[in-house]
Amino acid sequence: MLLEDGAWFPGTAPIPFEQTYAEVVFTTNLSGYQEVFTDPSYLGQIVVMTAPMIGNYGINPEDVESDRPRVAGVVVRELSLKPSNWRSTGALADWLAEARVPIVEDVDTRQLTRHIRSKGAMRGAVAQGEQPSDDVRAALAASPSMDGLDLATHATVAQQYREGPADARRHIVAYDYGMKRNIVRLFVQHGCRVTIVPAATSAAEVRELEPDGLFLSNGPGDPAAVTYAIATLRELADGTLPIFGICLGHQLLGLALGGETVKLPYGHRGGNHPVRDLATGQVLITSQNHGFAVRGDTAGVPGAKALEVTHLNLNDGTVEGVKHREYPIFAVQYHPEASPGPHDAQGHFQQFLQALDTQ
């Protein structure tokens, strides 16, 4: 594991892999590695697990957030050789290997995490060999930076599809920028019909589907780079449709309404981030996975007068939620769908559905 600033973290490879270059981030989730690895928001990222023992309960067909692992690479302190859990259908290492995801083991992941924390998220390479080679160094230097990188276009679905019963009372159109499966599951559980559309779907096409509400999903990459989506949302956020956004969807909404996004030094990734609901004063423990954030504070979002800040992160004061001052439009930076992570914020789904009903 080599970082772009030259820091090198030796480890071992339980399974041979091809060298890979990507942004290196860490997540502090204690459990839920399978959900993390299949979360499309991690596209283009090498994920360092701060939890030291990964793979204990193996893998199973239910705990996936997309059809395959999406991470560019996995770095762990120790991989469990043999899993144990009543739902387990196999070992994590085999599953990652099958998906050709590089795994590096035996790394001092705490040292690596502390490095990223103090120096910021940066590009890195995982490659095999005793020492970092010049080739690897050169290729790492030439690899693209996350800043300005549109990855949603890569993470989205190719074609529109439907989920949920056809006769459901409520119909939601969901922009898939790299959507986690649990979001759709929760909508369906709440009695909705969901039409999942590709990121590039135009506003007119969305309106043709006659949704009761519009959902903007999570996804990877720099939100500011997804210019077409921002433009489309600007059209759609005119008050005619209730809109609910999560994570990248939240950032895109912020940009569409005139706000700005900034790259966080090392992002928020984990399942323990405290967020204050400014309306009630209550603290939610949330699941998070983002490297960018909408700029703002209690006073509001600069440039987006229509937006009111509803949630703030208690650790660093960054914006965690916004809502439109007039229209039934709101979004959160964290993941109310959890999976992995705590369920404290799942109420946002009901909040959205209520907005639909009062529409």
């Binding site: 839920g32 939890a51 144990s84 208690l314 992570g341």
Partner: protein, 1096 residues
């Protein structure tokens, strides 16, 4: 909302003496609570009868009452102090029960005292099994099918629904007292009777057995704005059926998927809301069916607990401290995370390491006790270890136990691992019964080729843990067979947590050689921080653990640093009193401008609170672990004299490694421990010792014993707590001793002393700066010589020892301290027989009685010891030659007999008490009475007394029984005693002995016809009759005494209790009074109202 301003004075209840199930963890939580309240400007009134704790240090609370933690005595404190609120959640079940009693009887309402932290309704709902089960049903959660029985008949109906095995859980008892598993009707009836009896409300829950299910615990906190966080998840390696206190446990949970974990988390949040814990923490236990993930709620404790102490140490999130602040009105988001100091407390800690807790048992001291582990807790302490992987933490935890294993190693013999052979069949059978040794039996089973699946089936342990153990065995084989030991080999093994000693054994070389090789290769551990956030935020608190990884986060203190070695896991003979000394001294070093570095492995204690020292290393106290820290820190010196035998044992190797030892020179410690050198010293000083000798073989032992004359006291050298110490009366029993109790070999000599029958014992604690010696306290034991000093009640000042002998003890102690060049603390034990003072032993270190003496006199010995160790003189510290003392202080021992069925309650030279209490009063009788009440041995004021004593005690017992008779007690005695009493004019009724038919002595006890038992065993062998009588008294909670001196003291105490109501007074007031009245010399106790008990 910030803190409440309508409260000014808050009463805090401690948990009383250390007992199984309620130990040092409540000193930790109570101390945090006091500090947190003081920090917020509240006046804190504390009640705790346990003098060995830090929380009762008079410098902590504003008013410290060392009084019994019972409704009656706490009421007196309330009447006197008029607190605004009572915080009942920091002192275990004891505090909760007392608070509930005071709420129920109206005391709290009458005096306007508000319960904070948990209200009476929440406590009631959580503690009452039926109400709890109903609450769970309301929120859609399942509990094991169960109903509450109030009678045996009820119970028999219920068990037809649950089936066998059935689980019993008596209501409102601590540590699962009286609980158990019944496999058949006979066992069931017996257990139900005991459970009903032990439950203060005489009900017990009968549950469906979930034996073999996986067991988890969550630590939950909630504030009054309904913010909830989960501080920690804990997974038990041992499945349901073994009390969590007796289980090896791991944090965080290892084998739960996120989906399962979140379901448990959701349940926990729903539970704390439904029960209505409004501002504080609770612990919730779950069982999970390994086959299909079905989850049941087992129980909830609406207070801090052993697990919350463990969770605090495991995560760095101080639950008791935060819980206290929530109780006075703060919300989680208003409080800072004390470790990062930049992020708020309303978050959930994440771990980038694995924590393993291992229980420590004391069955070696209770050979007749049932060693099977059940739902009733039996362990007396625990060690915690932190590693980057389960394997590393597991091995560190096992060596941190200090139970003779250097990691996950086999015992030297099959019996040490409680198996009869290494055959797979025998092992499989053994594995079915949970015992302290099962984890080692698993190793034998894996080595014998038993597959993981078979072991999992027999033990109910999740295969994941067994796979981890399998990996350790694979690594051992690989290492043992490696051609050469290079850096790769050593690094891999060290990362798996193997100690140098284990590696040496695998390569058939010594620990030292292995370490030498490792050091040559430059392989050392690194130190990482416990920071609550897995490195996501910078942390400013140096709470460290070792691991073999790449980066170290500890900056050495160098010459400014002083390392204090703690006392490791609590055990009988080495408990919280040594932790008190370590903490007190650590704080003193800080005040003197040094940086304190604490090393300890005990998660229950105050010393392992990261707030107490400048740096905490949570590490095993083995030479290897300590020397690596010393090597890294390069401190000014290491303190070994405060933590009991654990650090003392490291003195020689540390000195040999060139490590500076602060205080008393190591050679003096050797003189005191080495029989021959010590004898020479005593002779040179002209101080009498009981005739004695050392033997290195059985034959030599017999020769020595014959030379000095029976009875003799035998014991192995270098022991604490009287381990394997016995009084033997003839050759045959001496030989028997070597067969069952102790090995003797040239490298394991035994010490043999003439046993002075019917002598008084005295204990002296003193402090020396190397120039001047000050006697801190002279104590007299209430029990006769032959009862271990830790098990004997003792009184300060002495009440039956003559002035001349007291003076001699003081002089001798000074002579020893001077001769040994003591710098710091010294304790000397004496026996006084026929007016002659004999020295029994000299301990140039902190003794068990240091906190007791400190609290009685108001002079903090451990604090002074720290100062003299860094060169201050006693003159500079302003310590006078005589420490004044007002009043009488009695220390009483507390025993684990109710927790350990099958154990006789007779006292002997082997220490068996787990804790102690203190009674402080103007008279001996009242001080003794308070101590008895605090020790849960309430004394009757009227009623019947059953007397059955052996012939040699009969003359002594007469005046005692006469006094009882004069007070109006009915005297009942067995035949011999009855005749003897009558002949001397004491009227007594006769009762049949157990074998003489019925009604007999036991019937009287069972039916409540007698309120006190005076019993001494007939001869040296415990007769079955006597044993049964004593057990009956224990089970039916009839106070009993097994020595004449204790019986006499009990009589004094009852007289005191009958003549006046006991008054309460805080330590601060006692000490103030002492200072103002300027007592010229140790006061004679006011109530030497009778002649000394005649000794036959």
């Amino acid at each position: 909302m910030p803190k409440r301003t309508d409260l000014r004075r808050i009463l805090l209840l401690g948990s009383g003496p250390i007992v199984i199930g309620q130990a040092a963890e409540f000193d930790y939580s109570g101390t945090q609570a006091v500090k947190a309240l003081k920090e917020e400007g509240y006046a804190v009134v504390l009640v705790n009868s346990n003098p060995a704790t830090i929380m009762t240090d008079p410098e902590l609370a504003d008013r410290t009452y060392i009084e019994p933690v019972t409704p009656e005595w706490v009421r007196r404190v309330i009447e006197r102090e008029r607190p605004d609120a009572l915080l009942p959640t920091m002192g275990g079940q004891t505090a909760l029960n007392v608070a509930m009693a005071l709420a129920r009887d109206g005391t709290l309402a009458r005096h306007g005292v508000e319960l904070i932290g948990a209200n009476a309704r929440a406590i009631q709902m959580a503690e009452d099994r039926a109400e709890f089960a109903a609450a769970m049903r309301r929120i859609g959660l399942a509990t094991p099918v169960g109903r509450v029985a109030a009678s045996v008949a009820d119970a028999l109906t219920i068990v037809t629904e649950t089936g066998y095995p059935a689980i019993l859980r008596p209501s409102f008892t601590l540590g699962g007292t009286g609980g158990g598993v019944a496999y058949n009707r006979a066992e069931f009836e017996e257990l139900v009777e005991r459970a009903l009896d032990l439950s203060p409300v005489h009900t017990t829950l009968i549950e469906r057995s979930v034996l073999g299910w996986k067991e988890f615990e969550l630590e939950v906190m909630r504030d009054h704005r309904d913010n909830v966080v989960i501080v920690c998840s804990i997974e038990n390696v041992d499945p349901m059926g073994v009390h969590t206190g007796d289980s090896i446990t791991v944090a965080p949970a290892m084998t739960l998927t996120d989906r399962e974990y979140q379901r448990m988390r959701d349940a926990a949040i729903a539970i704390i809301r439904e029960i209505g814990v409004e501002a504080g923490g609770c612990n919730i236990q779950f069982a999970v069916n390994p086959a299909d993930g079905e989850m049941l709620v087992i129980e909830m404790n609406p207070r801090v607990s052993r697990s919350s102490a463990l969770a605090s140490k495991a995560t760095g999130f101080p639950i008791a401290r935060i819980g206290t602040k929530l109780a006075v009105g703060y919300t989680l988001d208003e409080l800072p995370n004390d470790i990062t100091r930049t992020t708020p407390a309303s978050f959930e800690p994440v771990l980038d390491y694995v924590v393993v807790k291992v229980p420590r048992f004391a069955f070696e001291k209770f050979p007749t006790a049932d060693f099977r582990l059940t739902t009733q807790m039996k362990s007396v302490g625990e060690a915690m270890a932190i590693g980057r992987t389960f394997k590393e933490a597991f091995q560190k935890g096992l060596r941190a136990l200090e139970a003779g294993r250097s990691g996950w190693t086999l015992g030297p013999t099959l019996a040490d691992d409680r198996v009869t052979s290494d055959s797979p069949e025998d092992l499989r059978v053994a594995l079915r019964t949970p015992t302290p040794e099962r984890v080692f039996q698993i190793k034998r089973a894996l080595l014998a080729g038993l597959p993981v699946e078979a072991i999992a089936e027999a033990t109910g342990i999740d295969p994941w843990f067994l796979y981890q153990m399998e990996e350790l065995i694979a690594a051992e084989r690989w290492f043992a067979g490696a051609r050469d030991i290079g850096p790769a080999e050593l690094r891999r093994m060290k990362r798996l947590g193997f100690s140098d000693r284990q590696l040496g054994e695998l390569r058939r070389t010594s620990e030292e050689a292995m370490r030498q090789r490792r050091w040559e290769l430059g392989i050392h551990p690194v130190y990482k921080t416990v920071d609550t956030c897995a490195g996501e935020f910078p942390s400013s608190t140096p709470y460290l653990y070792s691991t073999y990884d790449a980066e170290t986060e500890s900056e050495p203190f160098g010459e400014r640093g002083i390392i204090i070695l703690g006392s490791g896991p609590n055990r009988i003979g080495q408990g919280v009193e040594f932790d008190y000394c370590c903490v007190r001294a650590g704080l003193a070093f800080r005040d003197l401008g040094y940086r304190t570095i604490m090393i300890n492995s005990n998660p229950e204690t105050v010393s392992t609170d990261f707030d107490i020292s400048d740096k905490l290393y949570f590490e095993p106290l083995t030479f290897e672990d300590v020397i690596e820290i010393v090597r890294w820190e390069r401190p000014k010196g290491v303190v070994v004299q405060l933590g009991g035998q654990t650090p003392l044992r490291l003195t020689k190797p540390l000195e040999a490694a060139g490590v500076p030892i602060l205080g008393t020179p190591p050679d003096s410690i050797d003189i005191a421990e080495d029989r021959e050198r010590f004898e020479a010293l005593a002779r040179r000083l002209g101080i009498t010792q009981p005739a004695n000798g050392t033997a290195r073989s059985v034959e030599e032992a017999v020769r020595v014993a014959q030379r000095i004359g029976y009875p003799v006291l035998v014991r192995p050298s270098y022991v604490l707590g009287g381990r394997a110490m016995e009084i033997v009366y003839d050759d045959a029993s001496l030989r028997g001793y070597f067969e069952k109790a102790a090995r003797v070999a040239p490298e394991h000599p035994v010490l043999i002393d003439r046993f002075l029958e019917d002598a008084f014992e005295g204990d002296v604690d003193a402090i020396s700066d190397g120039r001047r010696v000050v006697i801190a306290g002279v104590m007299q034991h209430i029990e006769d010589a032959g009862v271990h000093s830790g098990d004997s009640a003792c009184v300060l000042p002495p009440y039956l020892i003559g002035d001349r002998q007291v003076e001699e003890m003081r002089r001798y102690t000074k002579a020893f301290a001077e001769a040994l060049g003591v710098v710091g603390l010294i304790n000397v034990q004496y026996a006084i027989k026929d007016g002659v003072v004999h020295v029994l032993e000299v301990n140039p270190r902190a003794s068990r009685t240091v906190p007791f003496v400190s609290k009685a006199t108001g002079v903090s010995l451990a604090k002074l010891a720290a100062a003299v160790m860094v060169g201050r003189t006693l003159d500079e510290l302003g310590l006078p030659d005589d420490l004044p003392l007002r009043g009488v202080a009695v220390k009483e021992a507390v025993f684990p007999f109710t927790k350990l069925p099958g154990v006789d309650t007779i006292l002997g030279p082997e220490m068996r008490s787990t804790g102690e209490v203190m009674g402080l009063a103007d008279s001996f009788g009242m001080a003794f009475a308070k101590a008895q009440i605090a020790a849960d041995g309430s004394l009757p004021l009227e009623g019947g007394i059953l007397v059955t004593v052996n012939d040699s005690d009969k003359p002594t017992v007469v005046p005692i029984v006469r006094r009882f008779h004069e007070m109006g007690f009915r005297i009942v005695a067995t035949e011999g005693t009855e005749k003897y009493l009558r002949a001397r004019g004491v009227p007594a009724e006769r009762v049949a002995k157990v074998h003489e038919g019925r009604p007999n002595a036991i019937d009287l006890i069972v039916s409540g016809d007698v309120q006190l038992l005076i019993n001494t065993p007939l001869g040296k062998f415990t007769q079955a009759d006597d044993y049964a009588i004593r057990r009956a008294a224990l089970v039916h909670r009839v106070p009993y005494t097994t020595t004449m001196s204790a019986a006499s003291a009990a009589c004094d105490a009852i007289i005191a209790l009958r003549s006046r109501t006991g008054s309460v007074r805080s330590l601060q007031e006692w000490h103030e009074r002492t200072r103002t009245e300027k007592q010229p010399h140790e006061a004679k106790p006011p109530t030497a109202s009778r002649a000394p008990v005649a000794k036959s």
